[in-house]
Each structure stands twice: as structure tokens, then as C-alpha cells.
Amino acid sequence: MSEYPPKLAEVLEDFSFITGRDERVAFLIEIADRFPAVKVTPNIAKPPYDEAHHVQYCESDAYVWALEREDGTLDFRFDVLNPQGLSAKAMCVILGETLSGEPLGQIAAVPKEIVHQIFGREIAMGKGQGLMGIVHMVTHEAKKRLT
């Protein structure tokens, strides 16, 4: 996991120790509860949001913003319009907390497959592509600024 940004690697390591479904669910809910901390604020954007920030294939209607910091790194903010989009909120929290402020090259290299490491087998009937869409949008923002 050394190729991942350190905070993300740490979270993925935490998930790797989880063996039970209930434990994974409880951990993800605990993470999703922190969503207000990464939620976009009205001074950045207000609904209805610009479609350019909309995550494709996400049933929970997730949106992503990448705000440029003075040091050239990015601060990621999100919204999830579906009140039942708990998995999407958990995904946003993990990305926001672990990738904001990290080197763009490392963010750009994060693979979509981290979704499987985080959500485990539940992803088979879960949010699969939609969650990967959130990861893609975040990594794409980094890639755009590298080119």
C-alpha cells in the first residue's frame, strides 16, 4: 500500500483487518457520520449545483469540488443529495480526509479499485460503479492539474 497517500494507506490498512460484515458496516457508518466536515459549504456552491461537479453513475447524486490551495494542493469537498446515500457519504469522507492536501501525483494514481478494499463483498450488489465514479472524479481533478 506504500504507493498510496499515507492517510489513505492507513485507512485501507484499517479496512484490511476487518473480517466481519457487521464490523465493516459499523466502521463505515462511523465514517459517514463525519460527512458534514467534508460537505461543500454555501460560500463554495449552492444547489442546484453545476452539472460539471456531478458524479456520473452515482445513484446517490454525489457532487465533487476541488478547491486549489496556495501550495498548489487540493481541498476536496462533496455533497450527496440522496438522503439514503450513506455509502456515498462514507466514500466522500474517506477521500476528503485522506487526499486533501496530498501531492497531486499521488492522488492521480489512486485506483478506483480501492472501493472494493473499503466496501468488501457488499459492493457486489452495492454502489459499485457509483462509488468508483466518486474516486474517478477526485483523481481526475488531480490529473487535470498535472497536465
Binding site: 458496516v25 457508518i29 439514503q84 462514507a90 457486489a124 460503479q129 457509483g130
Partner: protein, 287 residues
């Protein structure tokens, strides 16, 4: 309840309102059951006193592609503390898609004392009603091992083949892109695809979600449903009908609509659906 009774359904008492559920939270003869697609939802908050029935861990056989057997159902019923006399009320996410699926599985085991909460989790939440993370503890019950009967509401592939040979009525409830074969899987579920795309010959494409009001997840009125299924698509309520989707969950929602809300006489759900049909050798496919 009066609103539901006035919508013109053929079996209106299969639905209960959020008000009805709120009044029966402590009714020992009623068990509220949440069934969702997203496994995070129930633990994050649910209707007070509601138990969870999870489609992967509770309703499916852990090894074979099939549902739990009779002993498994009796054990599940015992765990959620019901008897054959208990009224079970299902609700869940995605316009009750998964609640209808659980309802359908319960019917295989003859637990007919079952209802669906109109609007599901979305309506309950939108109305600002109480939610809790407390998981209720109920005593185990003795539920007599029932006979599972697959013959009335479940269709298997050989029956589907015979059905299409006879020009039978089918409803494909998947998205138009899946129906035409443009997509081999539902947009968000790439891993649940099939080797071939398209649809079963004769099937009409009526996406399942057309039956629900998106703003609150409630079912459309009988007039609105008849306009879709009978007038637009020309379905005959007297004819034998088979519904299918990808694995039989979305089509259980349409099965519920046709059987209970529109009074179709003979509807079966083909749970093998496209993940079986689209992988079978030498069966007819239309695009």
C-alpha cells in the same frame, strides 16, 4: 389509509401508510421489517422496533443460487420473532424495491399475512418521523417449518421457454439500454452482467421505477398504473404473465404491482432473469 383505499387498487390492504405503521410500532401482532439494497442504512437508523432482513445473508442460500430452504425460513422467522399469525410489514430504500423482493420471498413460504409500507424509507424520513439505531431484541419464536411452493409465483427457465413458445406475456423491467442489449448489465452493477445482451422474445420493456412516484416513493394510483401497463403497453390482466430483470429483484417490484395493485390473475417472477438467460446456450434472444 384512506388515501391508499381511494387509489383504486384491487388489493389495497396489501399496503399500509406511514401513519398506520406509526400507530402500530408497539403492536405485538405486527413486525416491521426493513429490507434495503444499501447494507449501511438499517444500522444507521431505522423505524423504532423494526428488524432487518438482509437479502444476501437472510434470504439467499449461501452456496447455491437459490433462496433459503424451508428450515432456513423457519429459523429466520424465529430470529425476527414472528409466528404465522404475525402481520409483517416490509419497507426499505429505493422505492421499496428490496422490500417487495423480501415480500415476494416470504410468499414462497406462504406467509401471506404480509404488507408493504407505501413510500418506504424515503417517505418515513421525509416526514421527519422517529428513527433509531437501537436494534430491538425480541424472543425467539417457534415457527412451524413451512413448505416452500415455487409453483405459483416463481418461474424457471424451462417454464419461460414454454411460455414464449406459446406467445406468453412477459415484462422486462430493466432499463431500455439493458433491454436493447446496448448494456450487458445495469448501469451501476457492471459485475452482474451476461455474455449476451438483449431481451427474451415477446417481452415488453416497462422499467420498474415507472410504478412509483419519485418524490416520495409511493406507488402510483391504479389509474396511472393502468395507463402505463394496460393502455400504453397493452398488457392483458387475464393473461399469464412473467416478469424478469437481472436477478429477479426489480421484477419482484413489478410483480407486486401487477398482482396486488392491478389484479393480474397469474403473475410469476423469473428470478433467474437476464443473468441466467443471457448466459444460457442456444436460447432465443431479441434485440
Amino acid at each position: 389509509m384512506s388515501d391508499i383505499a381511494n387509489r383504486g387498487y384491487t388489493t389495497p390492504d396489501v399496503l399500509v401508510s406511514t401513519d398506520w405503521v406509526a400507530k402500530h410500532l408497539n403492536d405485538p401482532n405486527v413486525r416491521i421489517i426493513e429490507s434495503n439494497e444499501d447494507p449501511l442504512l438499517y444500522p444507521s437508523g431505522h423505524i423504532p422496533g423494526a428488524v432487518q432482513v438482509d437479502w444476501t445473508t437472510d434470504l439467499n442460500d449461501p452456496v447455491r443460487r437459490d433462496y433459503i430452504d424451508s428450515e432456513g425460513f423457519a429459523a429466520l422467522a424465529s430470529r425476527i420473532s414472528i409466528t404465522p399469525e404475525t402481520t409483517v410489514v416490509f419497507y426499505g430504500d429505493k422505492n421499496n424495491w428490496w422490500a417487495c423482493y423480501a415480500f415476494w420471498v416470504f410468499q414462497l413460504f406462504g406467509h401471506t399475512n404480509a404488507k408493504v409500507m407505501d413510500g418506504g424509507r424515503l417517505k418515513w424520513e421525509k416526514e421527519g418521523r422517529e428513527m433509531t439505531r437501537d436494534v430491538p431484541q425480541y424472543p425467539l419464536t417457534q415457527y412451524p417449518v413451512p413448505q416452500r411452493d415455487d409453483s405459483v409465483i416463481r418461474a424457471f427457465r424451462k417454464e419461460v421457454l414454454k411460455h414464449i413458445e406459446n406467445g406468453g406475456q412477459l415484462v422486462d423491467v430493466r432499463s431500455p439500454a439493458e433491454y436493447t442489449g446496448e448494456l450487458l448489465h445495469m448501469a451501476n452493477y457492471p459485475q452482474e452482467g451476461a455474455l449476451r445482451g438483449g431481451h427474451i422474445p415477446n417481452a415488453r420493456n416497462i422499467p420498474w421505477s415507472q410504478a412509483a412516484n419519485p418524490e416520495d416513493g409511493t406507488f402510483k394510483s391504479a389509474d396511472e398504473l393502468r395507463a402505463i401497463y394496460l393502455k400504453e403497453q397493452g398488457l392483458n390482466p387475464e393473461a399469464e404473465t412473467i416478469t424478469y430483470c437481472r436477478i429477479g429483484e426489480r421484477s419482484s417490484h413489478t410483480w407486486f404491482v401487477l398482482r396486488y395493485l392491478l389484479g393480474f390473475k397469474n403473475v410469476r417472477n423469473y428470478d433467474g432473469s437476464w443473468t441466467e438467460w443471457g448466459n444460457l446456450v442456444n436460447v432465443p434472444i431479441e434485440k
